[in-house]
């Protein structure tokens, strides 16, 4: 029966240790700031159609680990619209930009044939695809 006693003692001290770890971890738990992203995209959300495909552009290179998180956060904030990285053949009329450096938006717009509809001054920019000539 001593084994059960030892197990109980170790478990309770382990619980104490783990609770302390969780308390410290909770200070940095939301590393992708998803709640903040919902606020950040709120105005763009109101301007977009209720559903459908929305193109996505960013100044962060696709290979950067941050790029995937930024795209995922935009997708979560803008659901039930489907957010897909903009490619030349895509049919999306509306395009959302999420920028680490907001002053990059005009350059990206010029490169991709987009016109800026609204710049929300928080790194989120709403574009429309310019009609083809």
């Amino acid at each position: 029966m001593a084994g059960i006693g030892v197990v109980a003692a170790l478990a309770i001290f382990g619980a104490l240790d783990y609770a302390q770890f969780l308390s410290e971890y909770s200070r940095s738990a939301d590393q992708f700031q998803i709640a903040a992203q919902e606020t950040r995209f709120r105005e763009a959300l109101a301007a977009l159609p209720a559903a459908g495909i929305v193109g996505y552009v960013s100044d962060v290179p696709a290979g950067d680990p941050q790029a995937q998180a930024m795209l995922g956060a935009a997708q979560y904030a803008l659901a039930p619209r489907i957010v897909v990285p903009l490619k030349s053949g895509d049919k999306a009329d509306w395009v959302v930009g999420s920028f680490a450096r907001p002053d990059e938006a005009p350059r990206v717009a010029a490169e991709r044939g987009l016109s800026i509809v609204s710049d929300y001054a928080n790194g989120v920019v709403l574009f429309r695809r310019e009609p083809r000539r």
């Binding site: 029966m1 001593a2 084994g3 059960i4 006693g5 030892v6 197990v7 109980a8 003692a9 170790l10 478990a11 309770i12 001290f13 382990g14 619980a15 104490l16 240790d17 783990y18 609770a19 302390q20 770890f21 969780l22 308390s23 971890y25 909770s26 200070r27 738990a29 939301d30 992708f32 998803i34 709640a35 209720a50 559903a51 495909i53 998180a69 995922g72 956060a73 997708q75 979560y76 659901a79 039930p80 619209r81 489907i82 957010v83 897909v84």
Partner: protein, 473 residues
């Protein structure tokens, strides 16, 4: 308020339905039977309401008022079933036997204190990170947002474009469906729903494990298993992540516990099948679990008691599993065909991976490393199990031996299937192992604990148990 109703009414309905389904059970002590029934019922309520919501969505009728009406209908059905079976007691009450271990109160106190401490920490993490970890907002809750959206927007979650957006449209919908049902009823997508669902499943796992072991062995066994679960930090953390792995671990545990209690629970095999099918509606790994548990039942029973008995038991198991398995198969075939790159590899590539010894070594190393991180070093669950094994030794009840063999074979097959996926994964193997291995352990851990504790020679609750029922390993 509407959201709370939509959340709790299906749970209550599930409890009533479970009470009716378990009528006539011979689970002692009564409080363990009640806890077992409550845990199963709440889990069943989540599964049934998720399925009902999905069917309403398919029919284009998933409006908030209709959802609440359906919840009310489920509750009425549960109440009716409860009323019909309220007088069916589980046989004459037996006098409680004196426990052989007199320090149970101290174990209960340690478990309660430890649980409060850990729960406080987990709630702090969840409060700081209300949308959960990566897969929560990129898969599970994201799909729930689509399902909760007005009109036909839900179809977006199952479209090929959803695959491009990394949503895995072919993943089953139990968790996303339940969360979406509450969100749609409430008219918002507040994070408290997936947060509370995660913690609820953690509580259900603990309650089911503790009550099943108390019923099958002793209160000491149930409490000690609770303490080992409390030390399984990697598993506990799943509650804050809002992934489908924790619900899956619950449904696998429920299916296995019902199989082990099949002699004490009328329709236990059919219920075990039903919970295996709920696992299949939760994750792809759950589908593998349901199939492999069926095969294990067939194989072990055939070897032990002949083909006719094996077919009879498998038929009863499949009777319970069939309705939801059929839904899962239809979902996979017609609504969201599998787009996993895993199934789109050529034979040459697969053969090359299977013949590569470096992949086996890499998987083995990662498994050992992850096992080390499954708990804190000096209260690691494997250390605690080793202490128990060394001090108590082993004992297997003869009347549980066959069910234990069946469930052990099933879990071993599931684990081997998971290892097979790692071997042939088209993703970068290191990344795949790093991101999924802790969750894979978590899926199986409560079931493994149940089986391990059924082999440990922990003092029994009842000294009156007949010697003939016992066997020695």
């Amino acid at each position: 308020m509407t959201g709370l109703l939509a959340f709790f009414v299906p749970l209550l309905a599930g409890w009533f339905l479970a009470h009716a389904a378990l009528a006539g059970r011979r689970i002692r002590p009564d409080w363990a039977g009640l806890m077992f029934e409550a845990a199963l019922g709440l889990g069943a309520g989540i599964a049934i309401s998720s399925i009902a919501f999905f069917l309403l969505t398919l029919a284009g009728a998933a409006l908030p008022a209709v959802i609440l009406a359906l919840d009310a209908a489920l509750l009425a059905a549960g109440l009716f079933a409860f009323w019909r079976t309220r007088r069916t007691a589980g046989g004459p009450a037996e006098p409680a036997a004196p426990p052989l271990f007199r320090w149970n109160w101290l174990l209960a106190l340690a478990l309660a204190a430890g649980s409060v401490l850990v729960l406080y920490g987990l709630v702090s993490v969840s409060a700081a990170n209300p949308h959960g970890e990566w897969d929560a907002w990129s898969i599970w809750n994201l799909r729930a947002k689509f399902l909760a959206a007005p009109g036909d927007a839900w179809r977006g979650a199952l479209s090929p474009l959803a695959e491009k957006a990394g949503m895995h449209p072919d993943y089953p919908l139990l968790l996303s469906g339940f969360v979406a049902m509450v969100w749609k009823s409430a008219g918002d997508t507040s994070p408290w729903v997936p947060q509370l669902t995660g913690f609820l499943f953690l509580a259900l796992v603990a309650a089911l494990l503790g009550s099943a072991l108390t019923a099958l062995r002793s209160l000491t066994s149930g409490l000690t298993a609770g303490l080992v679960l409390l030390s399984s930090t990697s598993f506990l953390f799943l509650a804050t992540m809002q992934y489908a792995d924790l619900p899956l671990s619950f449904y696998c545990l429920a299916s296995i516990a019902l199989l082990l209690l099949a002699e004490s629970v009328p329709a236990g095999l059919a219920l075990s099948g039903a919970f295996a099918s709920f696992a299949a509606w939760t994750k792809n790994e759950g589908l593998a679990f349901a199939v492999l548990l069926t095969l294990a039942t067939l194989a072990v029973e055939w070897r032990a008691a002949g083909l006719r008995n094996a077919i009879d038991r498998s038929r009863r198991f499949l009777t319970g599993a069939a309705p939801v398995l059929l839904l899962v198969i239809c979902f996979k075939l017609f609504l969201a065909p599998a787009s996993e790159p895993l199934f789109q590899q050529g034979a040459a590539g697969l053969t090359h991976k299977l013949a590569d010894p470096a992949r086996y070594a890499q998987i083995g190393k990662a498994m050992i490393a992850e096992l080390y991180h499954f708990g804190l070093p000096w209260s690691h669950p494997l250390l605690l199990l080793a202490i128990l094994a060394l001090t108590l030794r082993f004992r297997i009840d003869a009347n549980q031996a066959r069910a234990l063999r069946t469930t052990t074979v099933a879990l071993a097959l599931v684990f081997m299937a998971d290892c097979g996926v790692y071997l042939v994964t088209p993703s970068d193997l290191a990344w795949h192992l790093q991101t999924s291995l802790p969750r894979l352990y978590g899926q199986l851990w409560p079931s493994v604990l149940l089986l391990v504790f059924l082999t440990l020679n922990i003092p029994a609750a009842s000294a009156a148990r007949k010697p003939a029922e016992r066997g020695r390993k």
